[in-house]
Point group: C2
Chain length 255, copies 2
């Protein structure tokens, strides 16, 4: 079966309090696209964060001693690092220009996912606004899913994604940070392959694979679109959460 | 623009010497799909390796002292570890059941990408055959691309992919191991975003994002299909190679 990923056109700039399900349904209608059983929506985290009012003005942030220390190590703004610390469980690595943390949500990423770019601030203090990740992306995804399921009468999945850098490889890729209604990790253990062997690969990060696919069509720059409709996901929908994709520290050789 | 990924049907079992371009063209014809300018083909590494005769019978492998040592650490077959060492530049991590190496091709992966499963051997010694990665996946991808371009008269890209585990996250995802004709790393540095800021994200691993997308539709088990046709890749084709995606060791905080 063919997998199709369609970026939704004409998504407006999003502000705190905006209702994403309404915006999604409006765009689907303009596109002439009816939601069908098993369809998925993939949403970039920035518009979820904006709708949830996760903008912070750095002017309001007083850095702790630890943040000031890290600012020296990383050559970054101490107020930014204060927010990174508040959003993190632990700091994994620092060097000039880089801070890698375990986010309070459990994944490893740079800057705790806090973002300077694409934030609507005042023209004369635009550098002061930053955007935190959604409070609880699984819950955000589930809220959107429930609203879209009510409106359409069909079973759907919703994924919230961000772009993360990686160990060993250059370039960011889209990854899941919130999951509702579709498997995050697919467990193939015990399935025989064509020759009856046990498979080498036993667990597949299907939500991350979908996140990467959607990220590809979202783009990153001015022409990007933050919502992608997906049809043809090849696995049955089920209840799930991001936790499936988080490797426990004691099973992680690279922390 | 919509991105569509279509697994090619009826791909036969592949044996050494089989001609993948002929097989791909036959499947496209049965599907009624004409190649168009900018289309891509994504191919799972196993069938490329098989066509190139990269099967090795472990019975023929004499393990070195180092392989025997690693076999104790990892609780794996010393002959398998001998092949892993031959295919690797260095060993990054070992523990029971796991060996992570820098492959001679430059990427980090488990078992040097050597695979027990899905290998056609004799019924009574099936556990003895293993499959190495293609000798030079960039070159393999380019050979397929040239043949398909000659047959179709249009410009195409070809990606060879494998599934790799990751630091920090559970589950494998599809990643590029050979690239021909499409960008591997997309450089957005200097592009302003919607508000004229410089982007936080400056380099995107688009070939890895496409690999993940294709992996999703290939599946992993008996019902899987190892070749995916892609239409609607949103970036201009250009000459490229896997090297773009390999993070130099001195820029890698996680080795």
């Amino acid at each position: 079966m063919t997998l199709t990923l369609t970026p939704l056109p004409d998504i407006p700039l999003i502000f705190a309090g905006d209702d994403l399900p309404t915006i999604i349904l409006g765009s689907l209608e303009r596109l002439g696209l009816d939601l069908q059983e098993g369809d998925l929506l993939v949403i970039g985290q920035k518009i979820v964060s904006k709708a949830e009012g996760r903008l912070v003005n750095l002017v309001s942030v007083v850095p702790s001693n630890r943040a000031i220390e890290l600012a020296t190590e990383t050559e970054k703004d101490p107020r930014m690092l204060e927010l990174v610390l508040r959003e993190s469980k632990s700091v994994l690595r620092t060097r000039p220009g880089t801070i890698i943390v375990e986010h309070r949500l459990g994944f490893i990423c740079a800057n705790a996912g806090i973002d300077h770019s694409n934030v609507a601030g005042e023209a004369n203090d635009e550098e002061e606004w930053v955007l935190l990740l959604p409070e609880n992306p699984d819950r955000s995804a589930d809220c959107v899913r429930q609203r879209l399921e009510e409106a359409s009468g069909v079973r759907l999945g919703v994924l919230i994604i961000d772009s993360h850098g990686r160990a060993w490889r250059m370039g960011t890729v889209g990854v899941a940070i919130g999951v509702a209604g579709l498997p995050a990790l697919l467990d193939l253990r015990g399935h025989p392959d064509l020759f009856g062997y046990h498979l080498r690969i036993t667990q597949v990060g299907v939500a991350d694979e979908l996140a990467a696919a959607a990220s590809l069509v979202m783009g990153q720059a001015a022409e990007g679109t933050p919502i992608v409709h997906v049809r043809g996901f090849p696995y049955p929908l089920r209840e799930a959460s991001l936790g499936e994709l988080l490797r426990p520290a004691d099973q992680d050789l690279f922390r």
